[in-house]
């Protein structure tokens, strides 16, 4: 059941951040259902052959949410679960942002926002050029969309009708210091993607069935943007929708409460 896996991922995120005493808990918890649905019911990837040429490509453009990605990769068998305890420790493979040179299942070394979608466009073009047919999925933060590079990539993907490319926006309406709409407004966001030549689907980003349906819907002959409405900090009452939890670390007592809420 995806719901059980997602709960395990969230618990893993809390424990991983607790061990490291660092991380981006709010965005990790908001993106968890998107990552879980992709890795456990959509992506054609194989932990035993992480570089097989025809694999689907997944890029976490909001690379600061590495703890969520590492947790999913661990549960999916790409890295040992015990290794999560080394997150951000000296000489660990698990750097604060993902590194494809070290971690199987990682396609791009993200961290500076606004890099994932251009790489995704290249990957989608490569799939078509080589005739291989893999699909490419890129997860973006909503604040991240303030970077112009995303719109250069969106324009290119629309122009080339890259129907093997899917961008997922983790629309939690918060960025690092404030709400997106109070900082540099993104709305009307769906209209923007549509006007760039994308098929646009808006849904509840915590609804696994809706996510799965959107990821697997038949091609509309153009790239697909999924605006996944989410709650930053989803699942932990005192973290949900609070800007100060972008990269705050829960205290020992808060970790206990968070894990309790996430086991319900």
């Amino acid at each position: 059941m995806l719901a059980d896996i997602a709960r395990a991922v969230r618990r893993s995120v809390v424990r991983t951040i607790d061990a490291a005493r660092a991380g981006h808990i709010g965005g990790d918890l908001s993106v968890t259902d998107i990552l879980t649905t992709l890795f456990f019911s959509v992506l054609d990837v194989d932990a035993a052959a992480p570089l097989k040429p025809e694999r689907d490509r997944f890029i976490l453009s909001k690379g600061h949410c590495a703890a969520a990605l590492y947790s999913v990769l661990a549960l999916r068998g790409f890295i040992p679960e015990e290794e999560l305890a080394t997150f951000m420790q000296p000489l660990s493979r698990l750097n604060g942002h993902p590194n494809r040179r070290k971690i199987p299942g990682v396609e791009a070394n993200t961290g500076p926002l606004g890099h994932g979608l251009p790489i995704g466009v290249g990957s989608a073009v490569a799939s078509k050029l080589s005739g291989t047919g893999w699909r490419t999925f890129v997860v973006l933060g909503d604040g991240e969309l303030q970077e112009g590079s995303n719109w250069e990539a969106a324009m290119a993907a629309g122009h080339r009708k890259l129907d093997n490319l899917c961008a997922i926006v983790d629309r939690n309406r918060l960025q690092q210091g404030a709400r997106t709409e109070d900082t540099n407004a993104l709305d009307p966001l769906a209209d923007k993607w549509t006007s760039f030549g994308w098929e646009t689907i808006e849904l509840d980003g915590h609804d696994h069935a809706a996510l799965h349906a959107a990821f697997t819907a038949p091609s509309a002959g153009k790239p697909r943007a999924i605006i996944a409405n989410t709650l930053k900090g989803k699942g932990v009452s005192f973290i949900e929708d609070r800007v100060e939890w972008h990269h705050k670390v829960p205290s020992a007592e808060q970790v206990v409460i968070a894990l309790e809420e996430l086991s319900a």
Binding site: P90, S92, G96, H97, G111, Q146, E147, Q175, Q176
Partner: protein, 322 residues
């Protein structure tokens, strides 16, 4: 490049340490109260640049463009064109990496009075990894004509550098450290633009350092002193333009030079000093800095990993003057 030197005595006890961000924010507030031309431009970085008080006091004069660094620097150039003095406050890797062409064309080539403030530079973001390490900034920016590069080594120097940046009217880059360091300057005469400060005299070898490495060079001089080696220490707080006379004097009066910077050795302080030395008074040099993409680790761990500590600097000096 781990620091060897087990034979060296340990560094002296740590003095009280400060990071430069608060001094930067306080001085900017003080100047902004008296000078309505001062505006801050940032990229969702109000908190990380310590601009909360500025935002509260001058909500209209804080222009947060969101996560959009290229736009941020272009907007700053336009504000300068309109008579304002923009302080662009942004994490140094994204300011200098993402917006490099805007820095070159919009700021330097236009010769607009924009103050680019590289926050949390060098290895400040330790375990966040190489994407967040701002270690290429000195190399990149040194290659840009008409852009002054200032690296304060402590809070006193930071405050004085902020005042200079307003008064000078020049496009400049201020590298504002986050790693806590002890004071290395005196309040009355903390910083003079274009001057290299000889903060310890010596005759055998010269240690040339910038930013967070200055206090570590002083500690290295102590270690060398215990071995009977007299080390001169230079604090380079203006990397560009460089005070050539003080570098030439070091090359002539001591046996060689060790440079230390929290940055790539390809093109930063060490390269700048080398360019002077080879023209005027060739001597042996050792260039200490970052080499390659760092492994995972916090700031202190990574500085040690690259030998950027008292023991590493002293060991390099011993190769020249031992």
């Amino acid at each position: 490049m781990n620091a060897p030197a087990a034979s060296l005595a340990t560094a002296p006890a740590k003095a009280e340490s400060f990071d430069c961000r608060q001094a930067f924010a306080d001085e900017l507030m003080t100047i902004a109260k008296a000078d309505p031309r001062i505006v801050a431009v940032c990229n969702d970085s109000v908190g990380s640049s310590n601009l909360n008080a500025f935002q509260k006091a001058f909500p209209d004069r804080l222009i947060n463009v969101g996560i959009a660094e290229q736009n941020m620097v272009g907007v700053a150039a336009g504000l300068a064109n309109g008579g304002f003095v923009p302080f662009v406050c942004c994490a140094s890797p994204f300011l200098t990496g993402r917006a490099l062409e805007q820095i070159k064309a919009d700021v330097a080539y236009n010769n607009y009075h924009v103050v680019l403030c590289g926050m949390s530079p060098g290895m400040s973001y330790g375990e966040l990894g190489p994407t967040h390490h701002s270690i290429e900034d000195l190399s990149w920016l040194r290659a840009i004509t008409d852009l002054s590069i200032v690296v304060p080594a402590d809070p006193n120097q930071t405050r004085a550098a902020v005042r200079w940046a307003v008064d000078s009217g020049l496009p400049s880059f201020l590298r504002i450290g986050r790693f806590k360091v002890p004071s290395v300057s005196t309040e009355g005469d903390a910083f003079a633009y274009g001057r290299v400060d000889r903060i310890r005299d010596g005759s055998d070898v010269t240690l040339v350092a910038t930013g967070v490495m200055v206090s570590r060079a002083l500690a290295a001089a102590e270690l060398l002193g215990a071995r009977g080696i007299s080390a001169r220490v230079l604090n380079v707080s203006t990397i560009k333009p460089l005070d050539e006379a003080e570098i030439i004097a070091a090359a002539r009066e001591t046996r060689g030079i060790v440079t230390a910077e929290e940055a790539m050795v390809e093109g930063g302080l060490g390269a700048a000093v080398s360019q002077v030395v080879v023209r005027h008074a060739p001597v042996l040099m050792r260039l200490l800095g970052v080499r390659g993409f760092a492994p995972t680790g916090d700031t202190g761990f990574l500085l040690d990993h690259f030998g950027l500590n008292a023991e590493g600097i002293a060991a390099a000096a011993l190769e020249i003057a031992g």
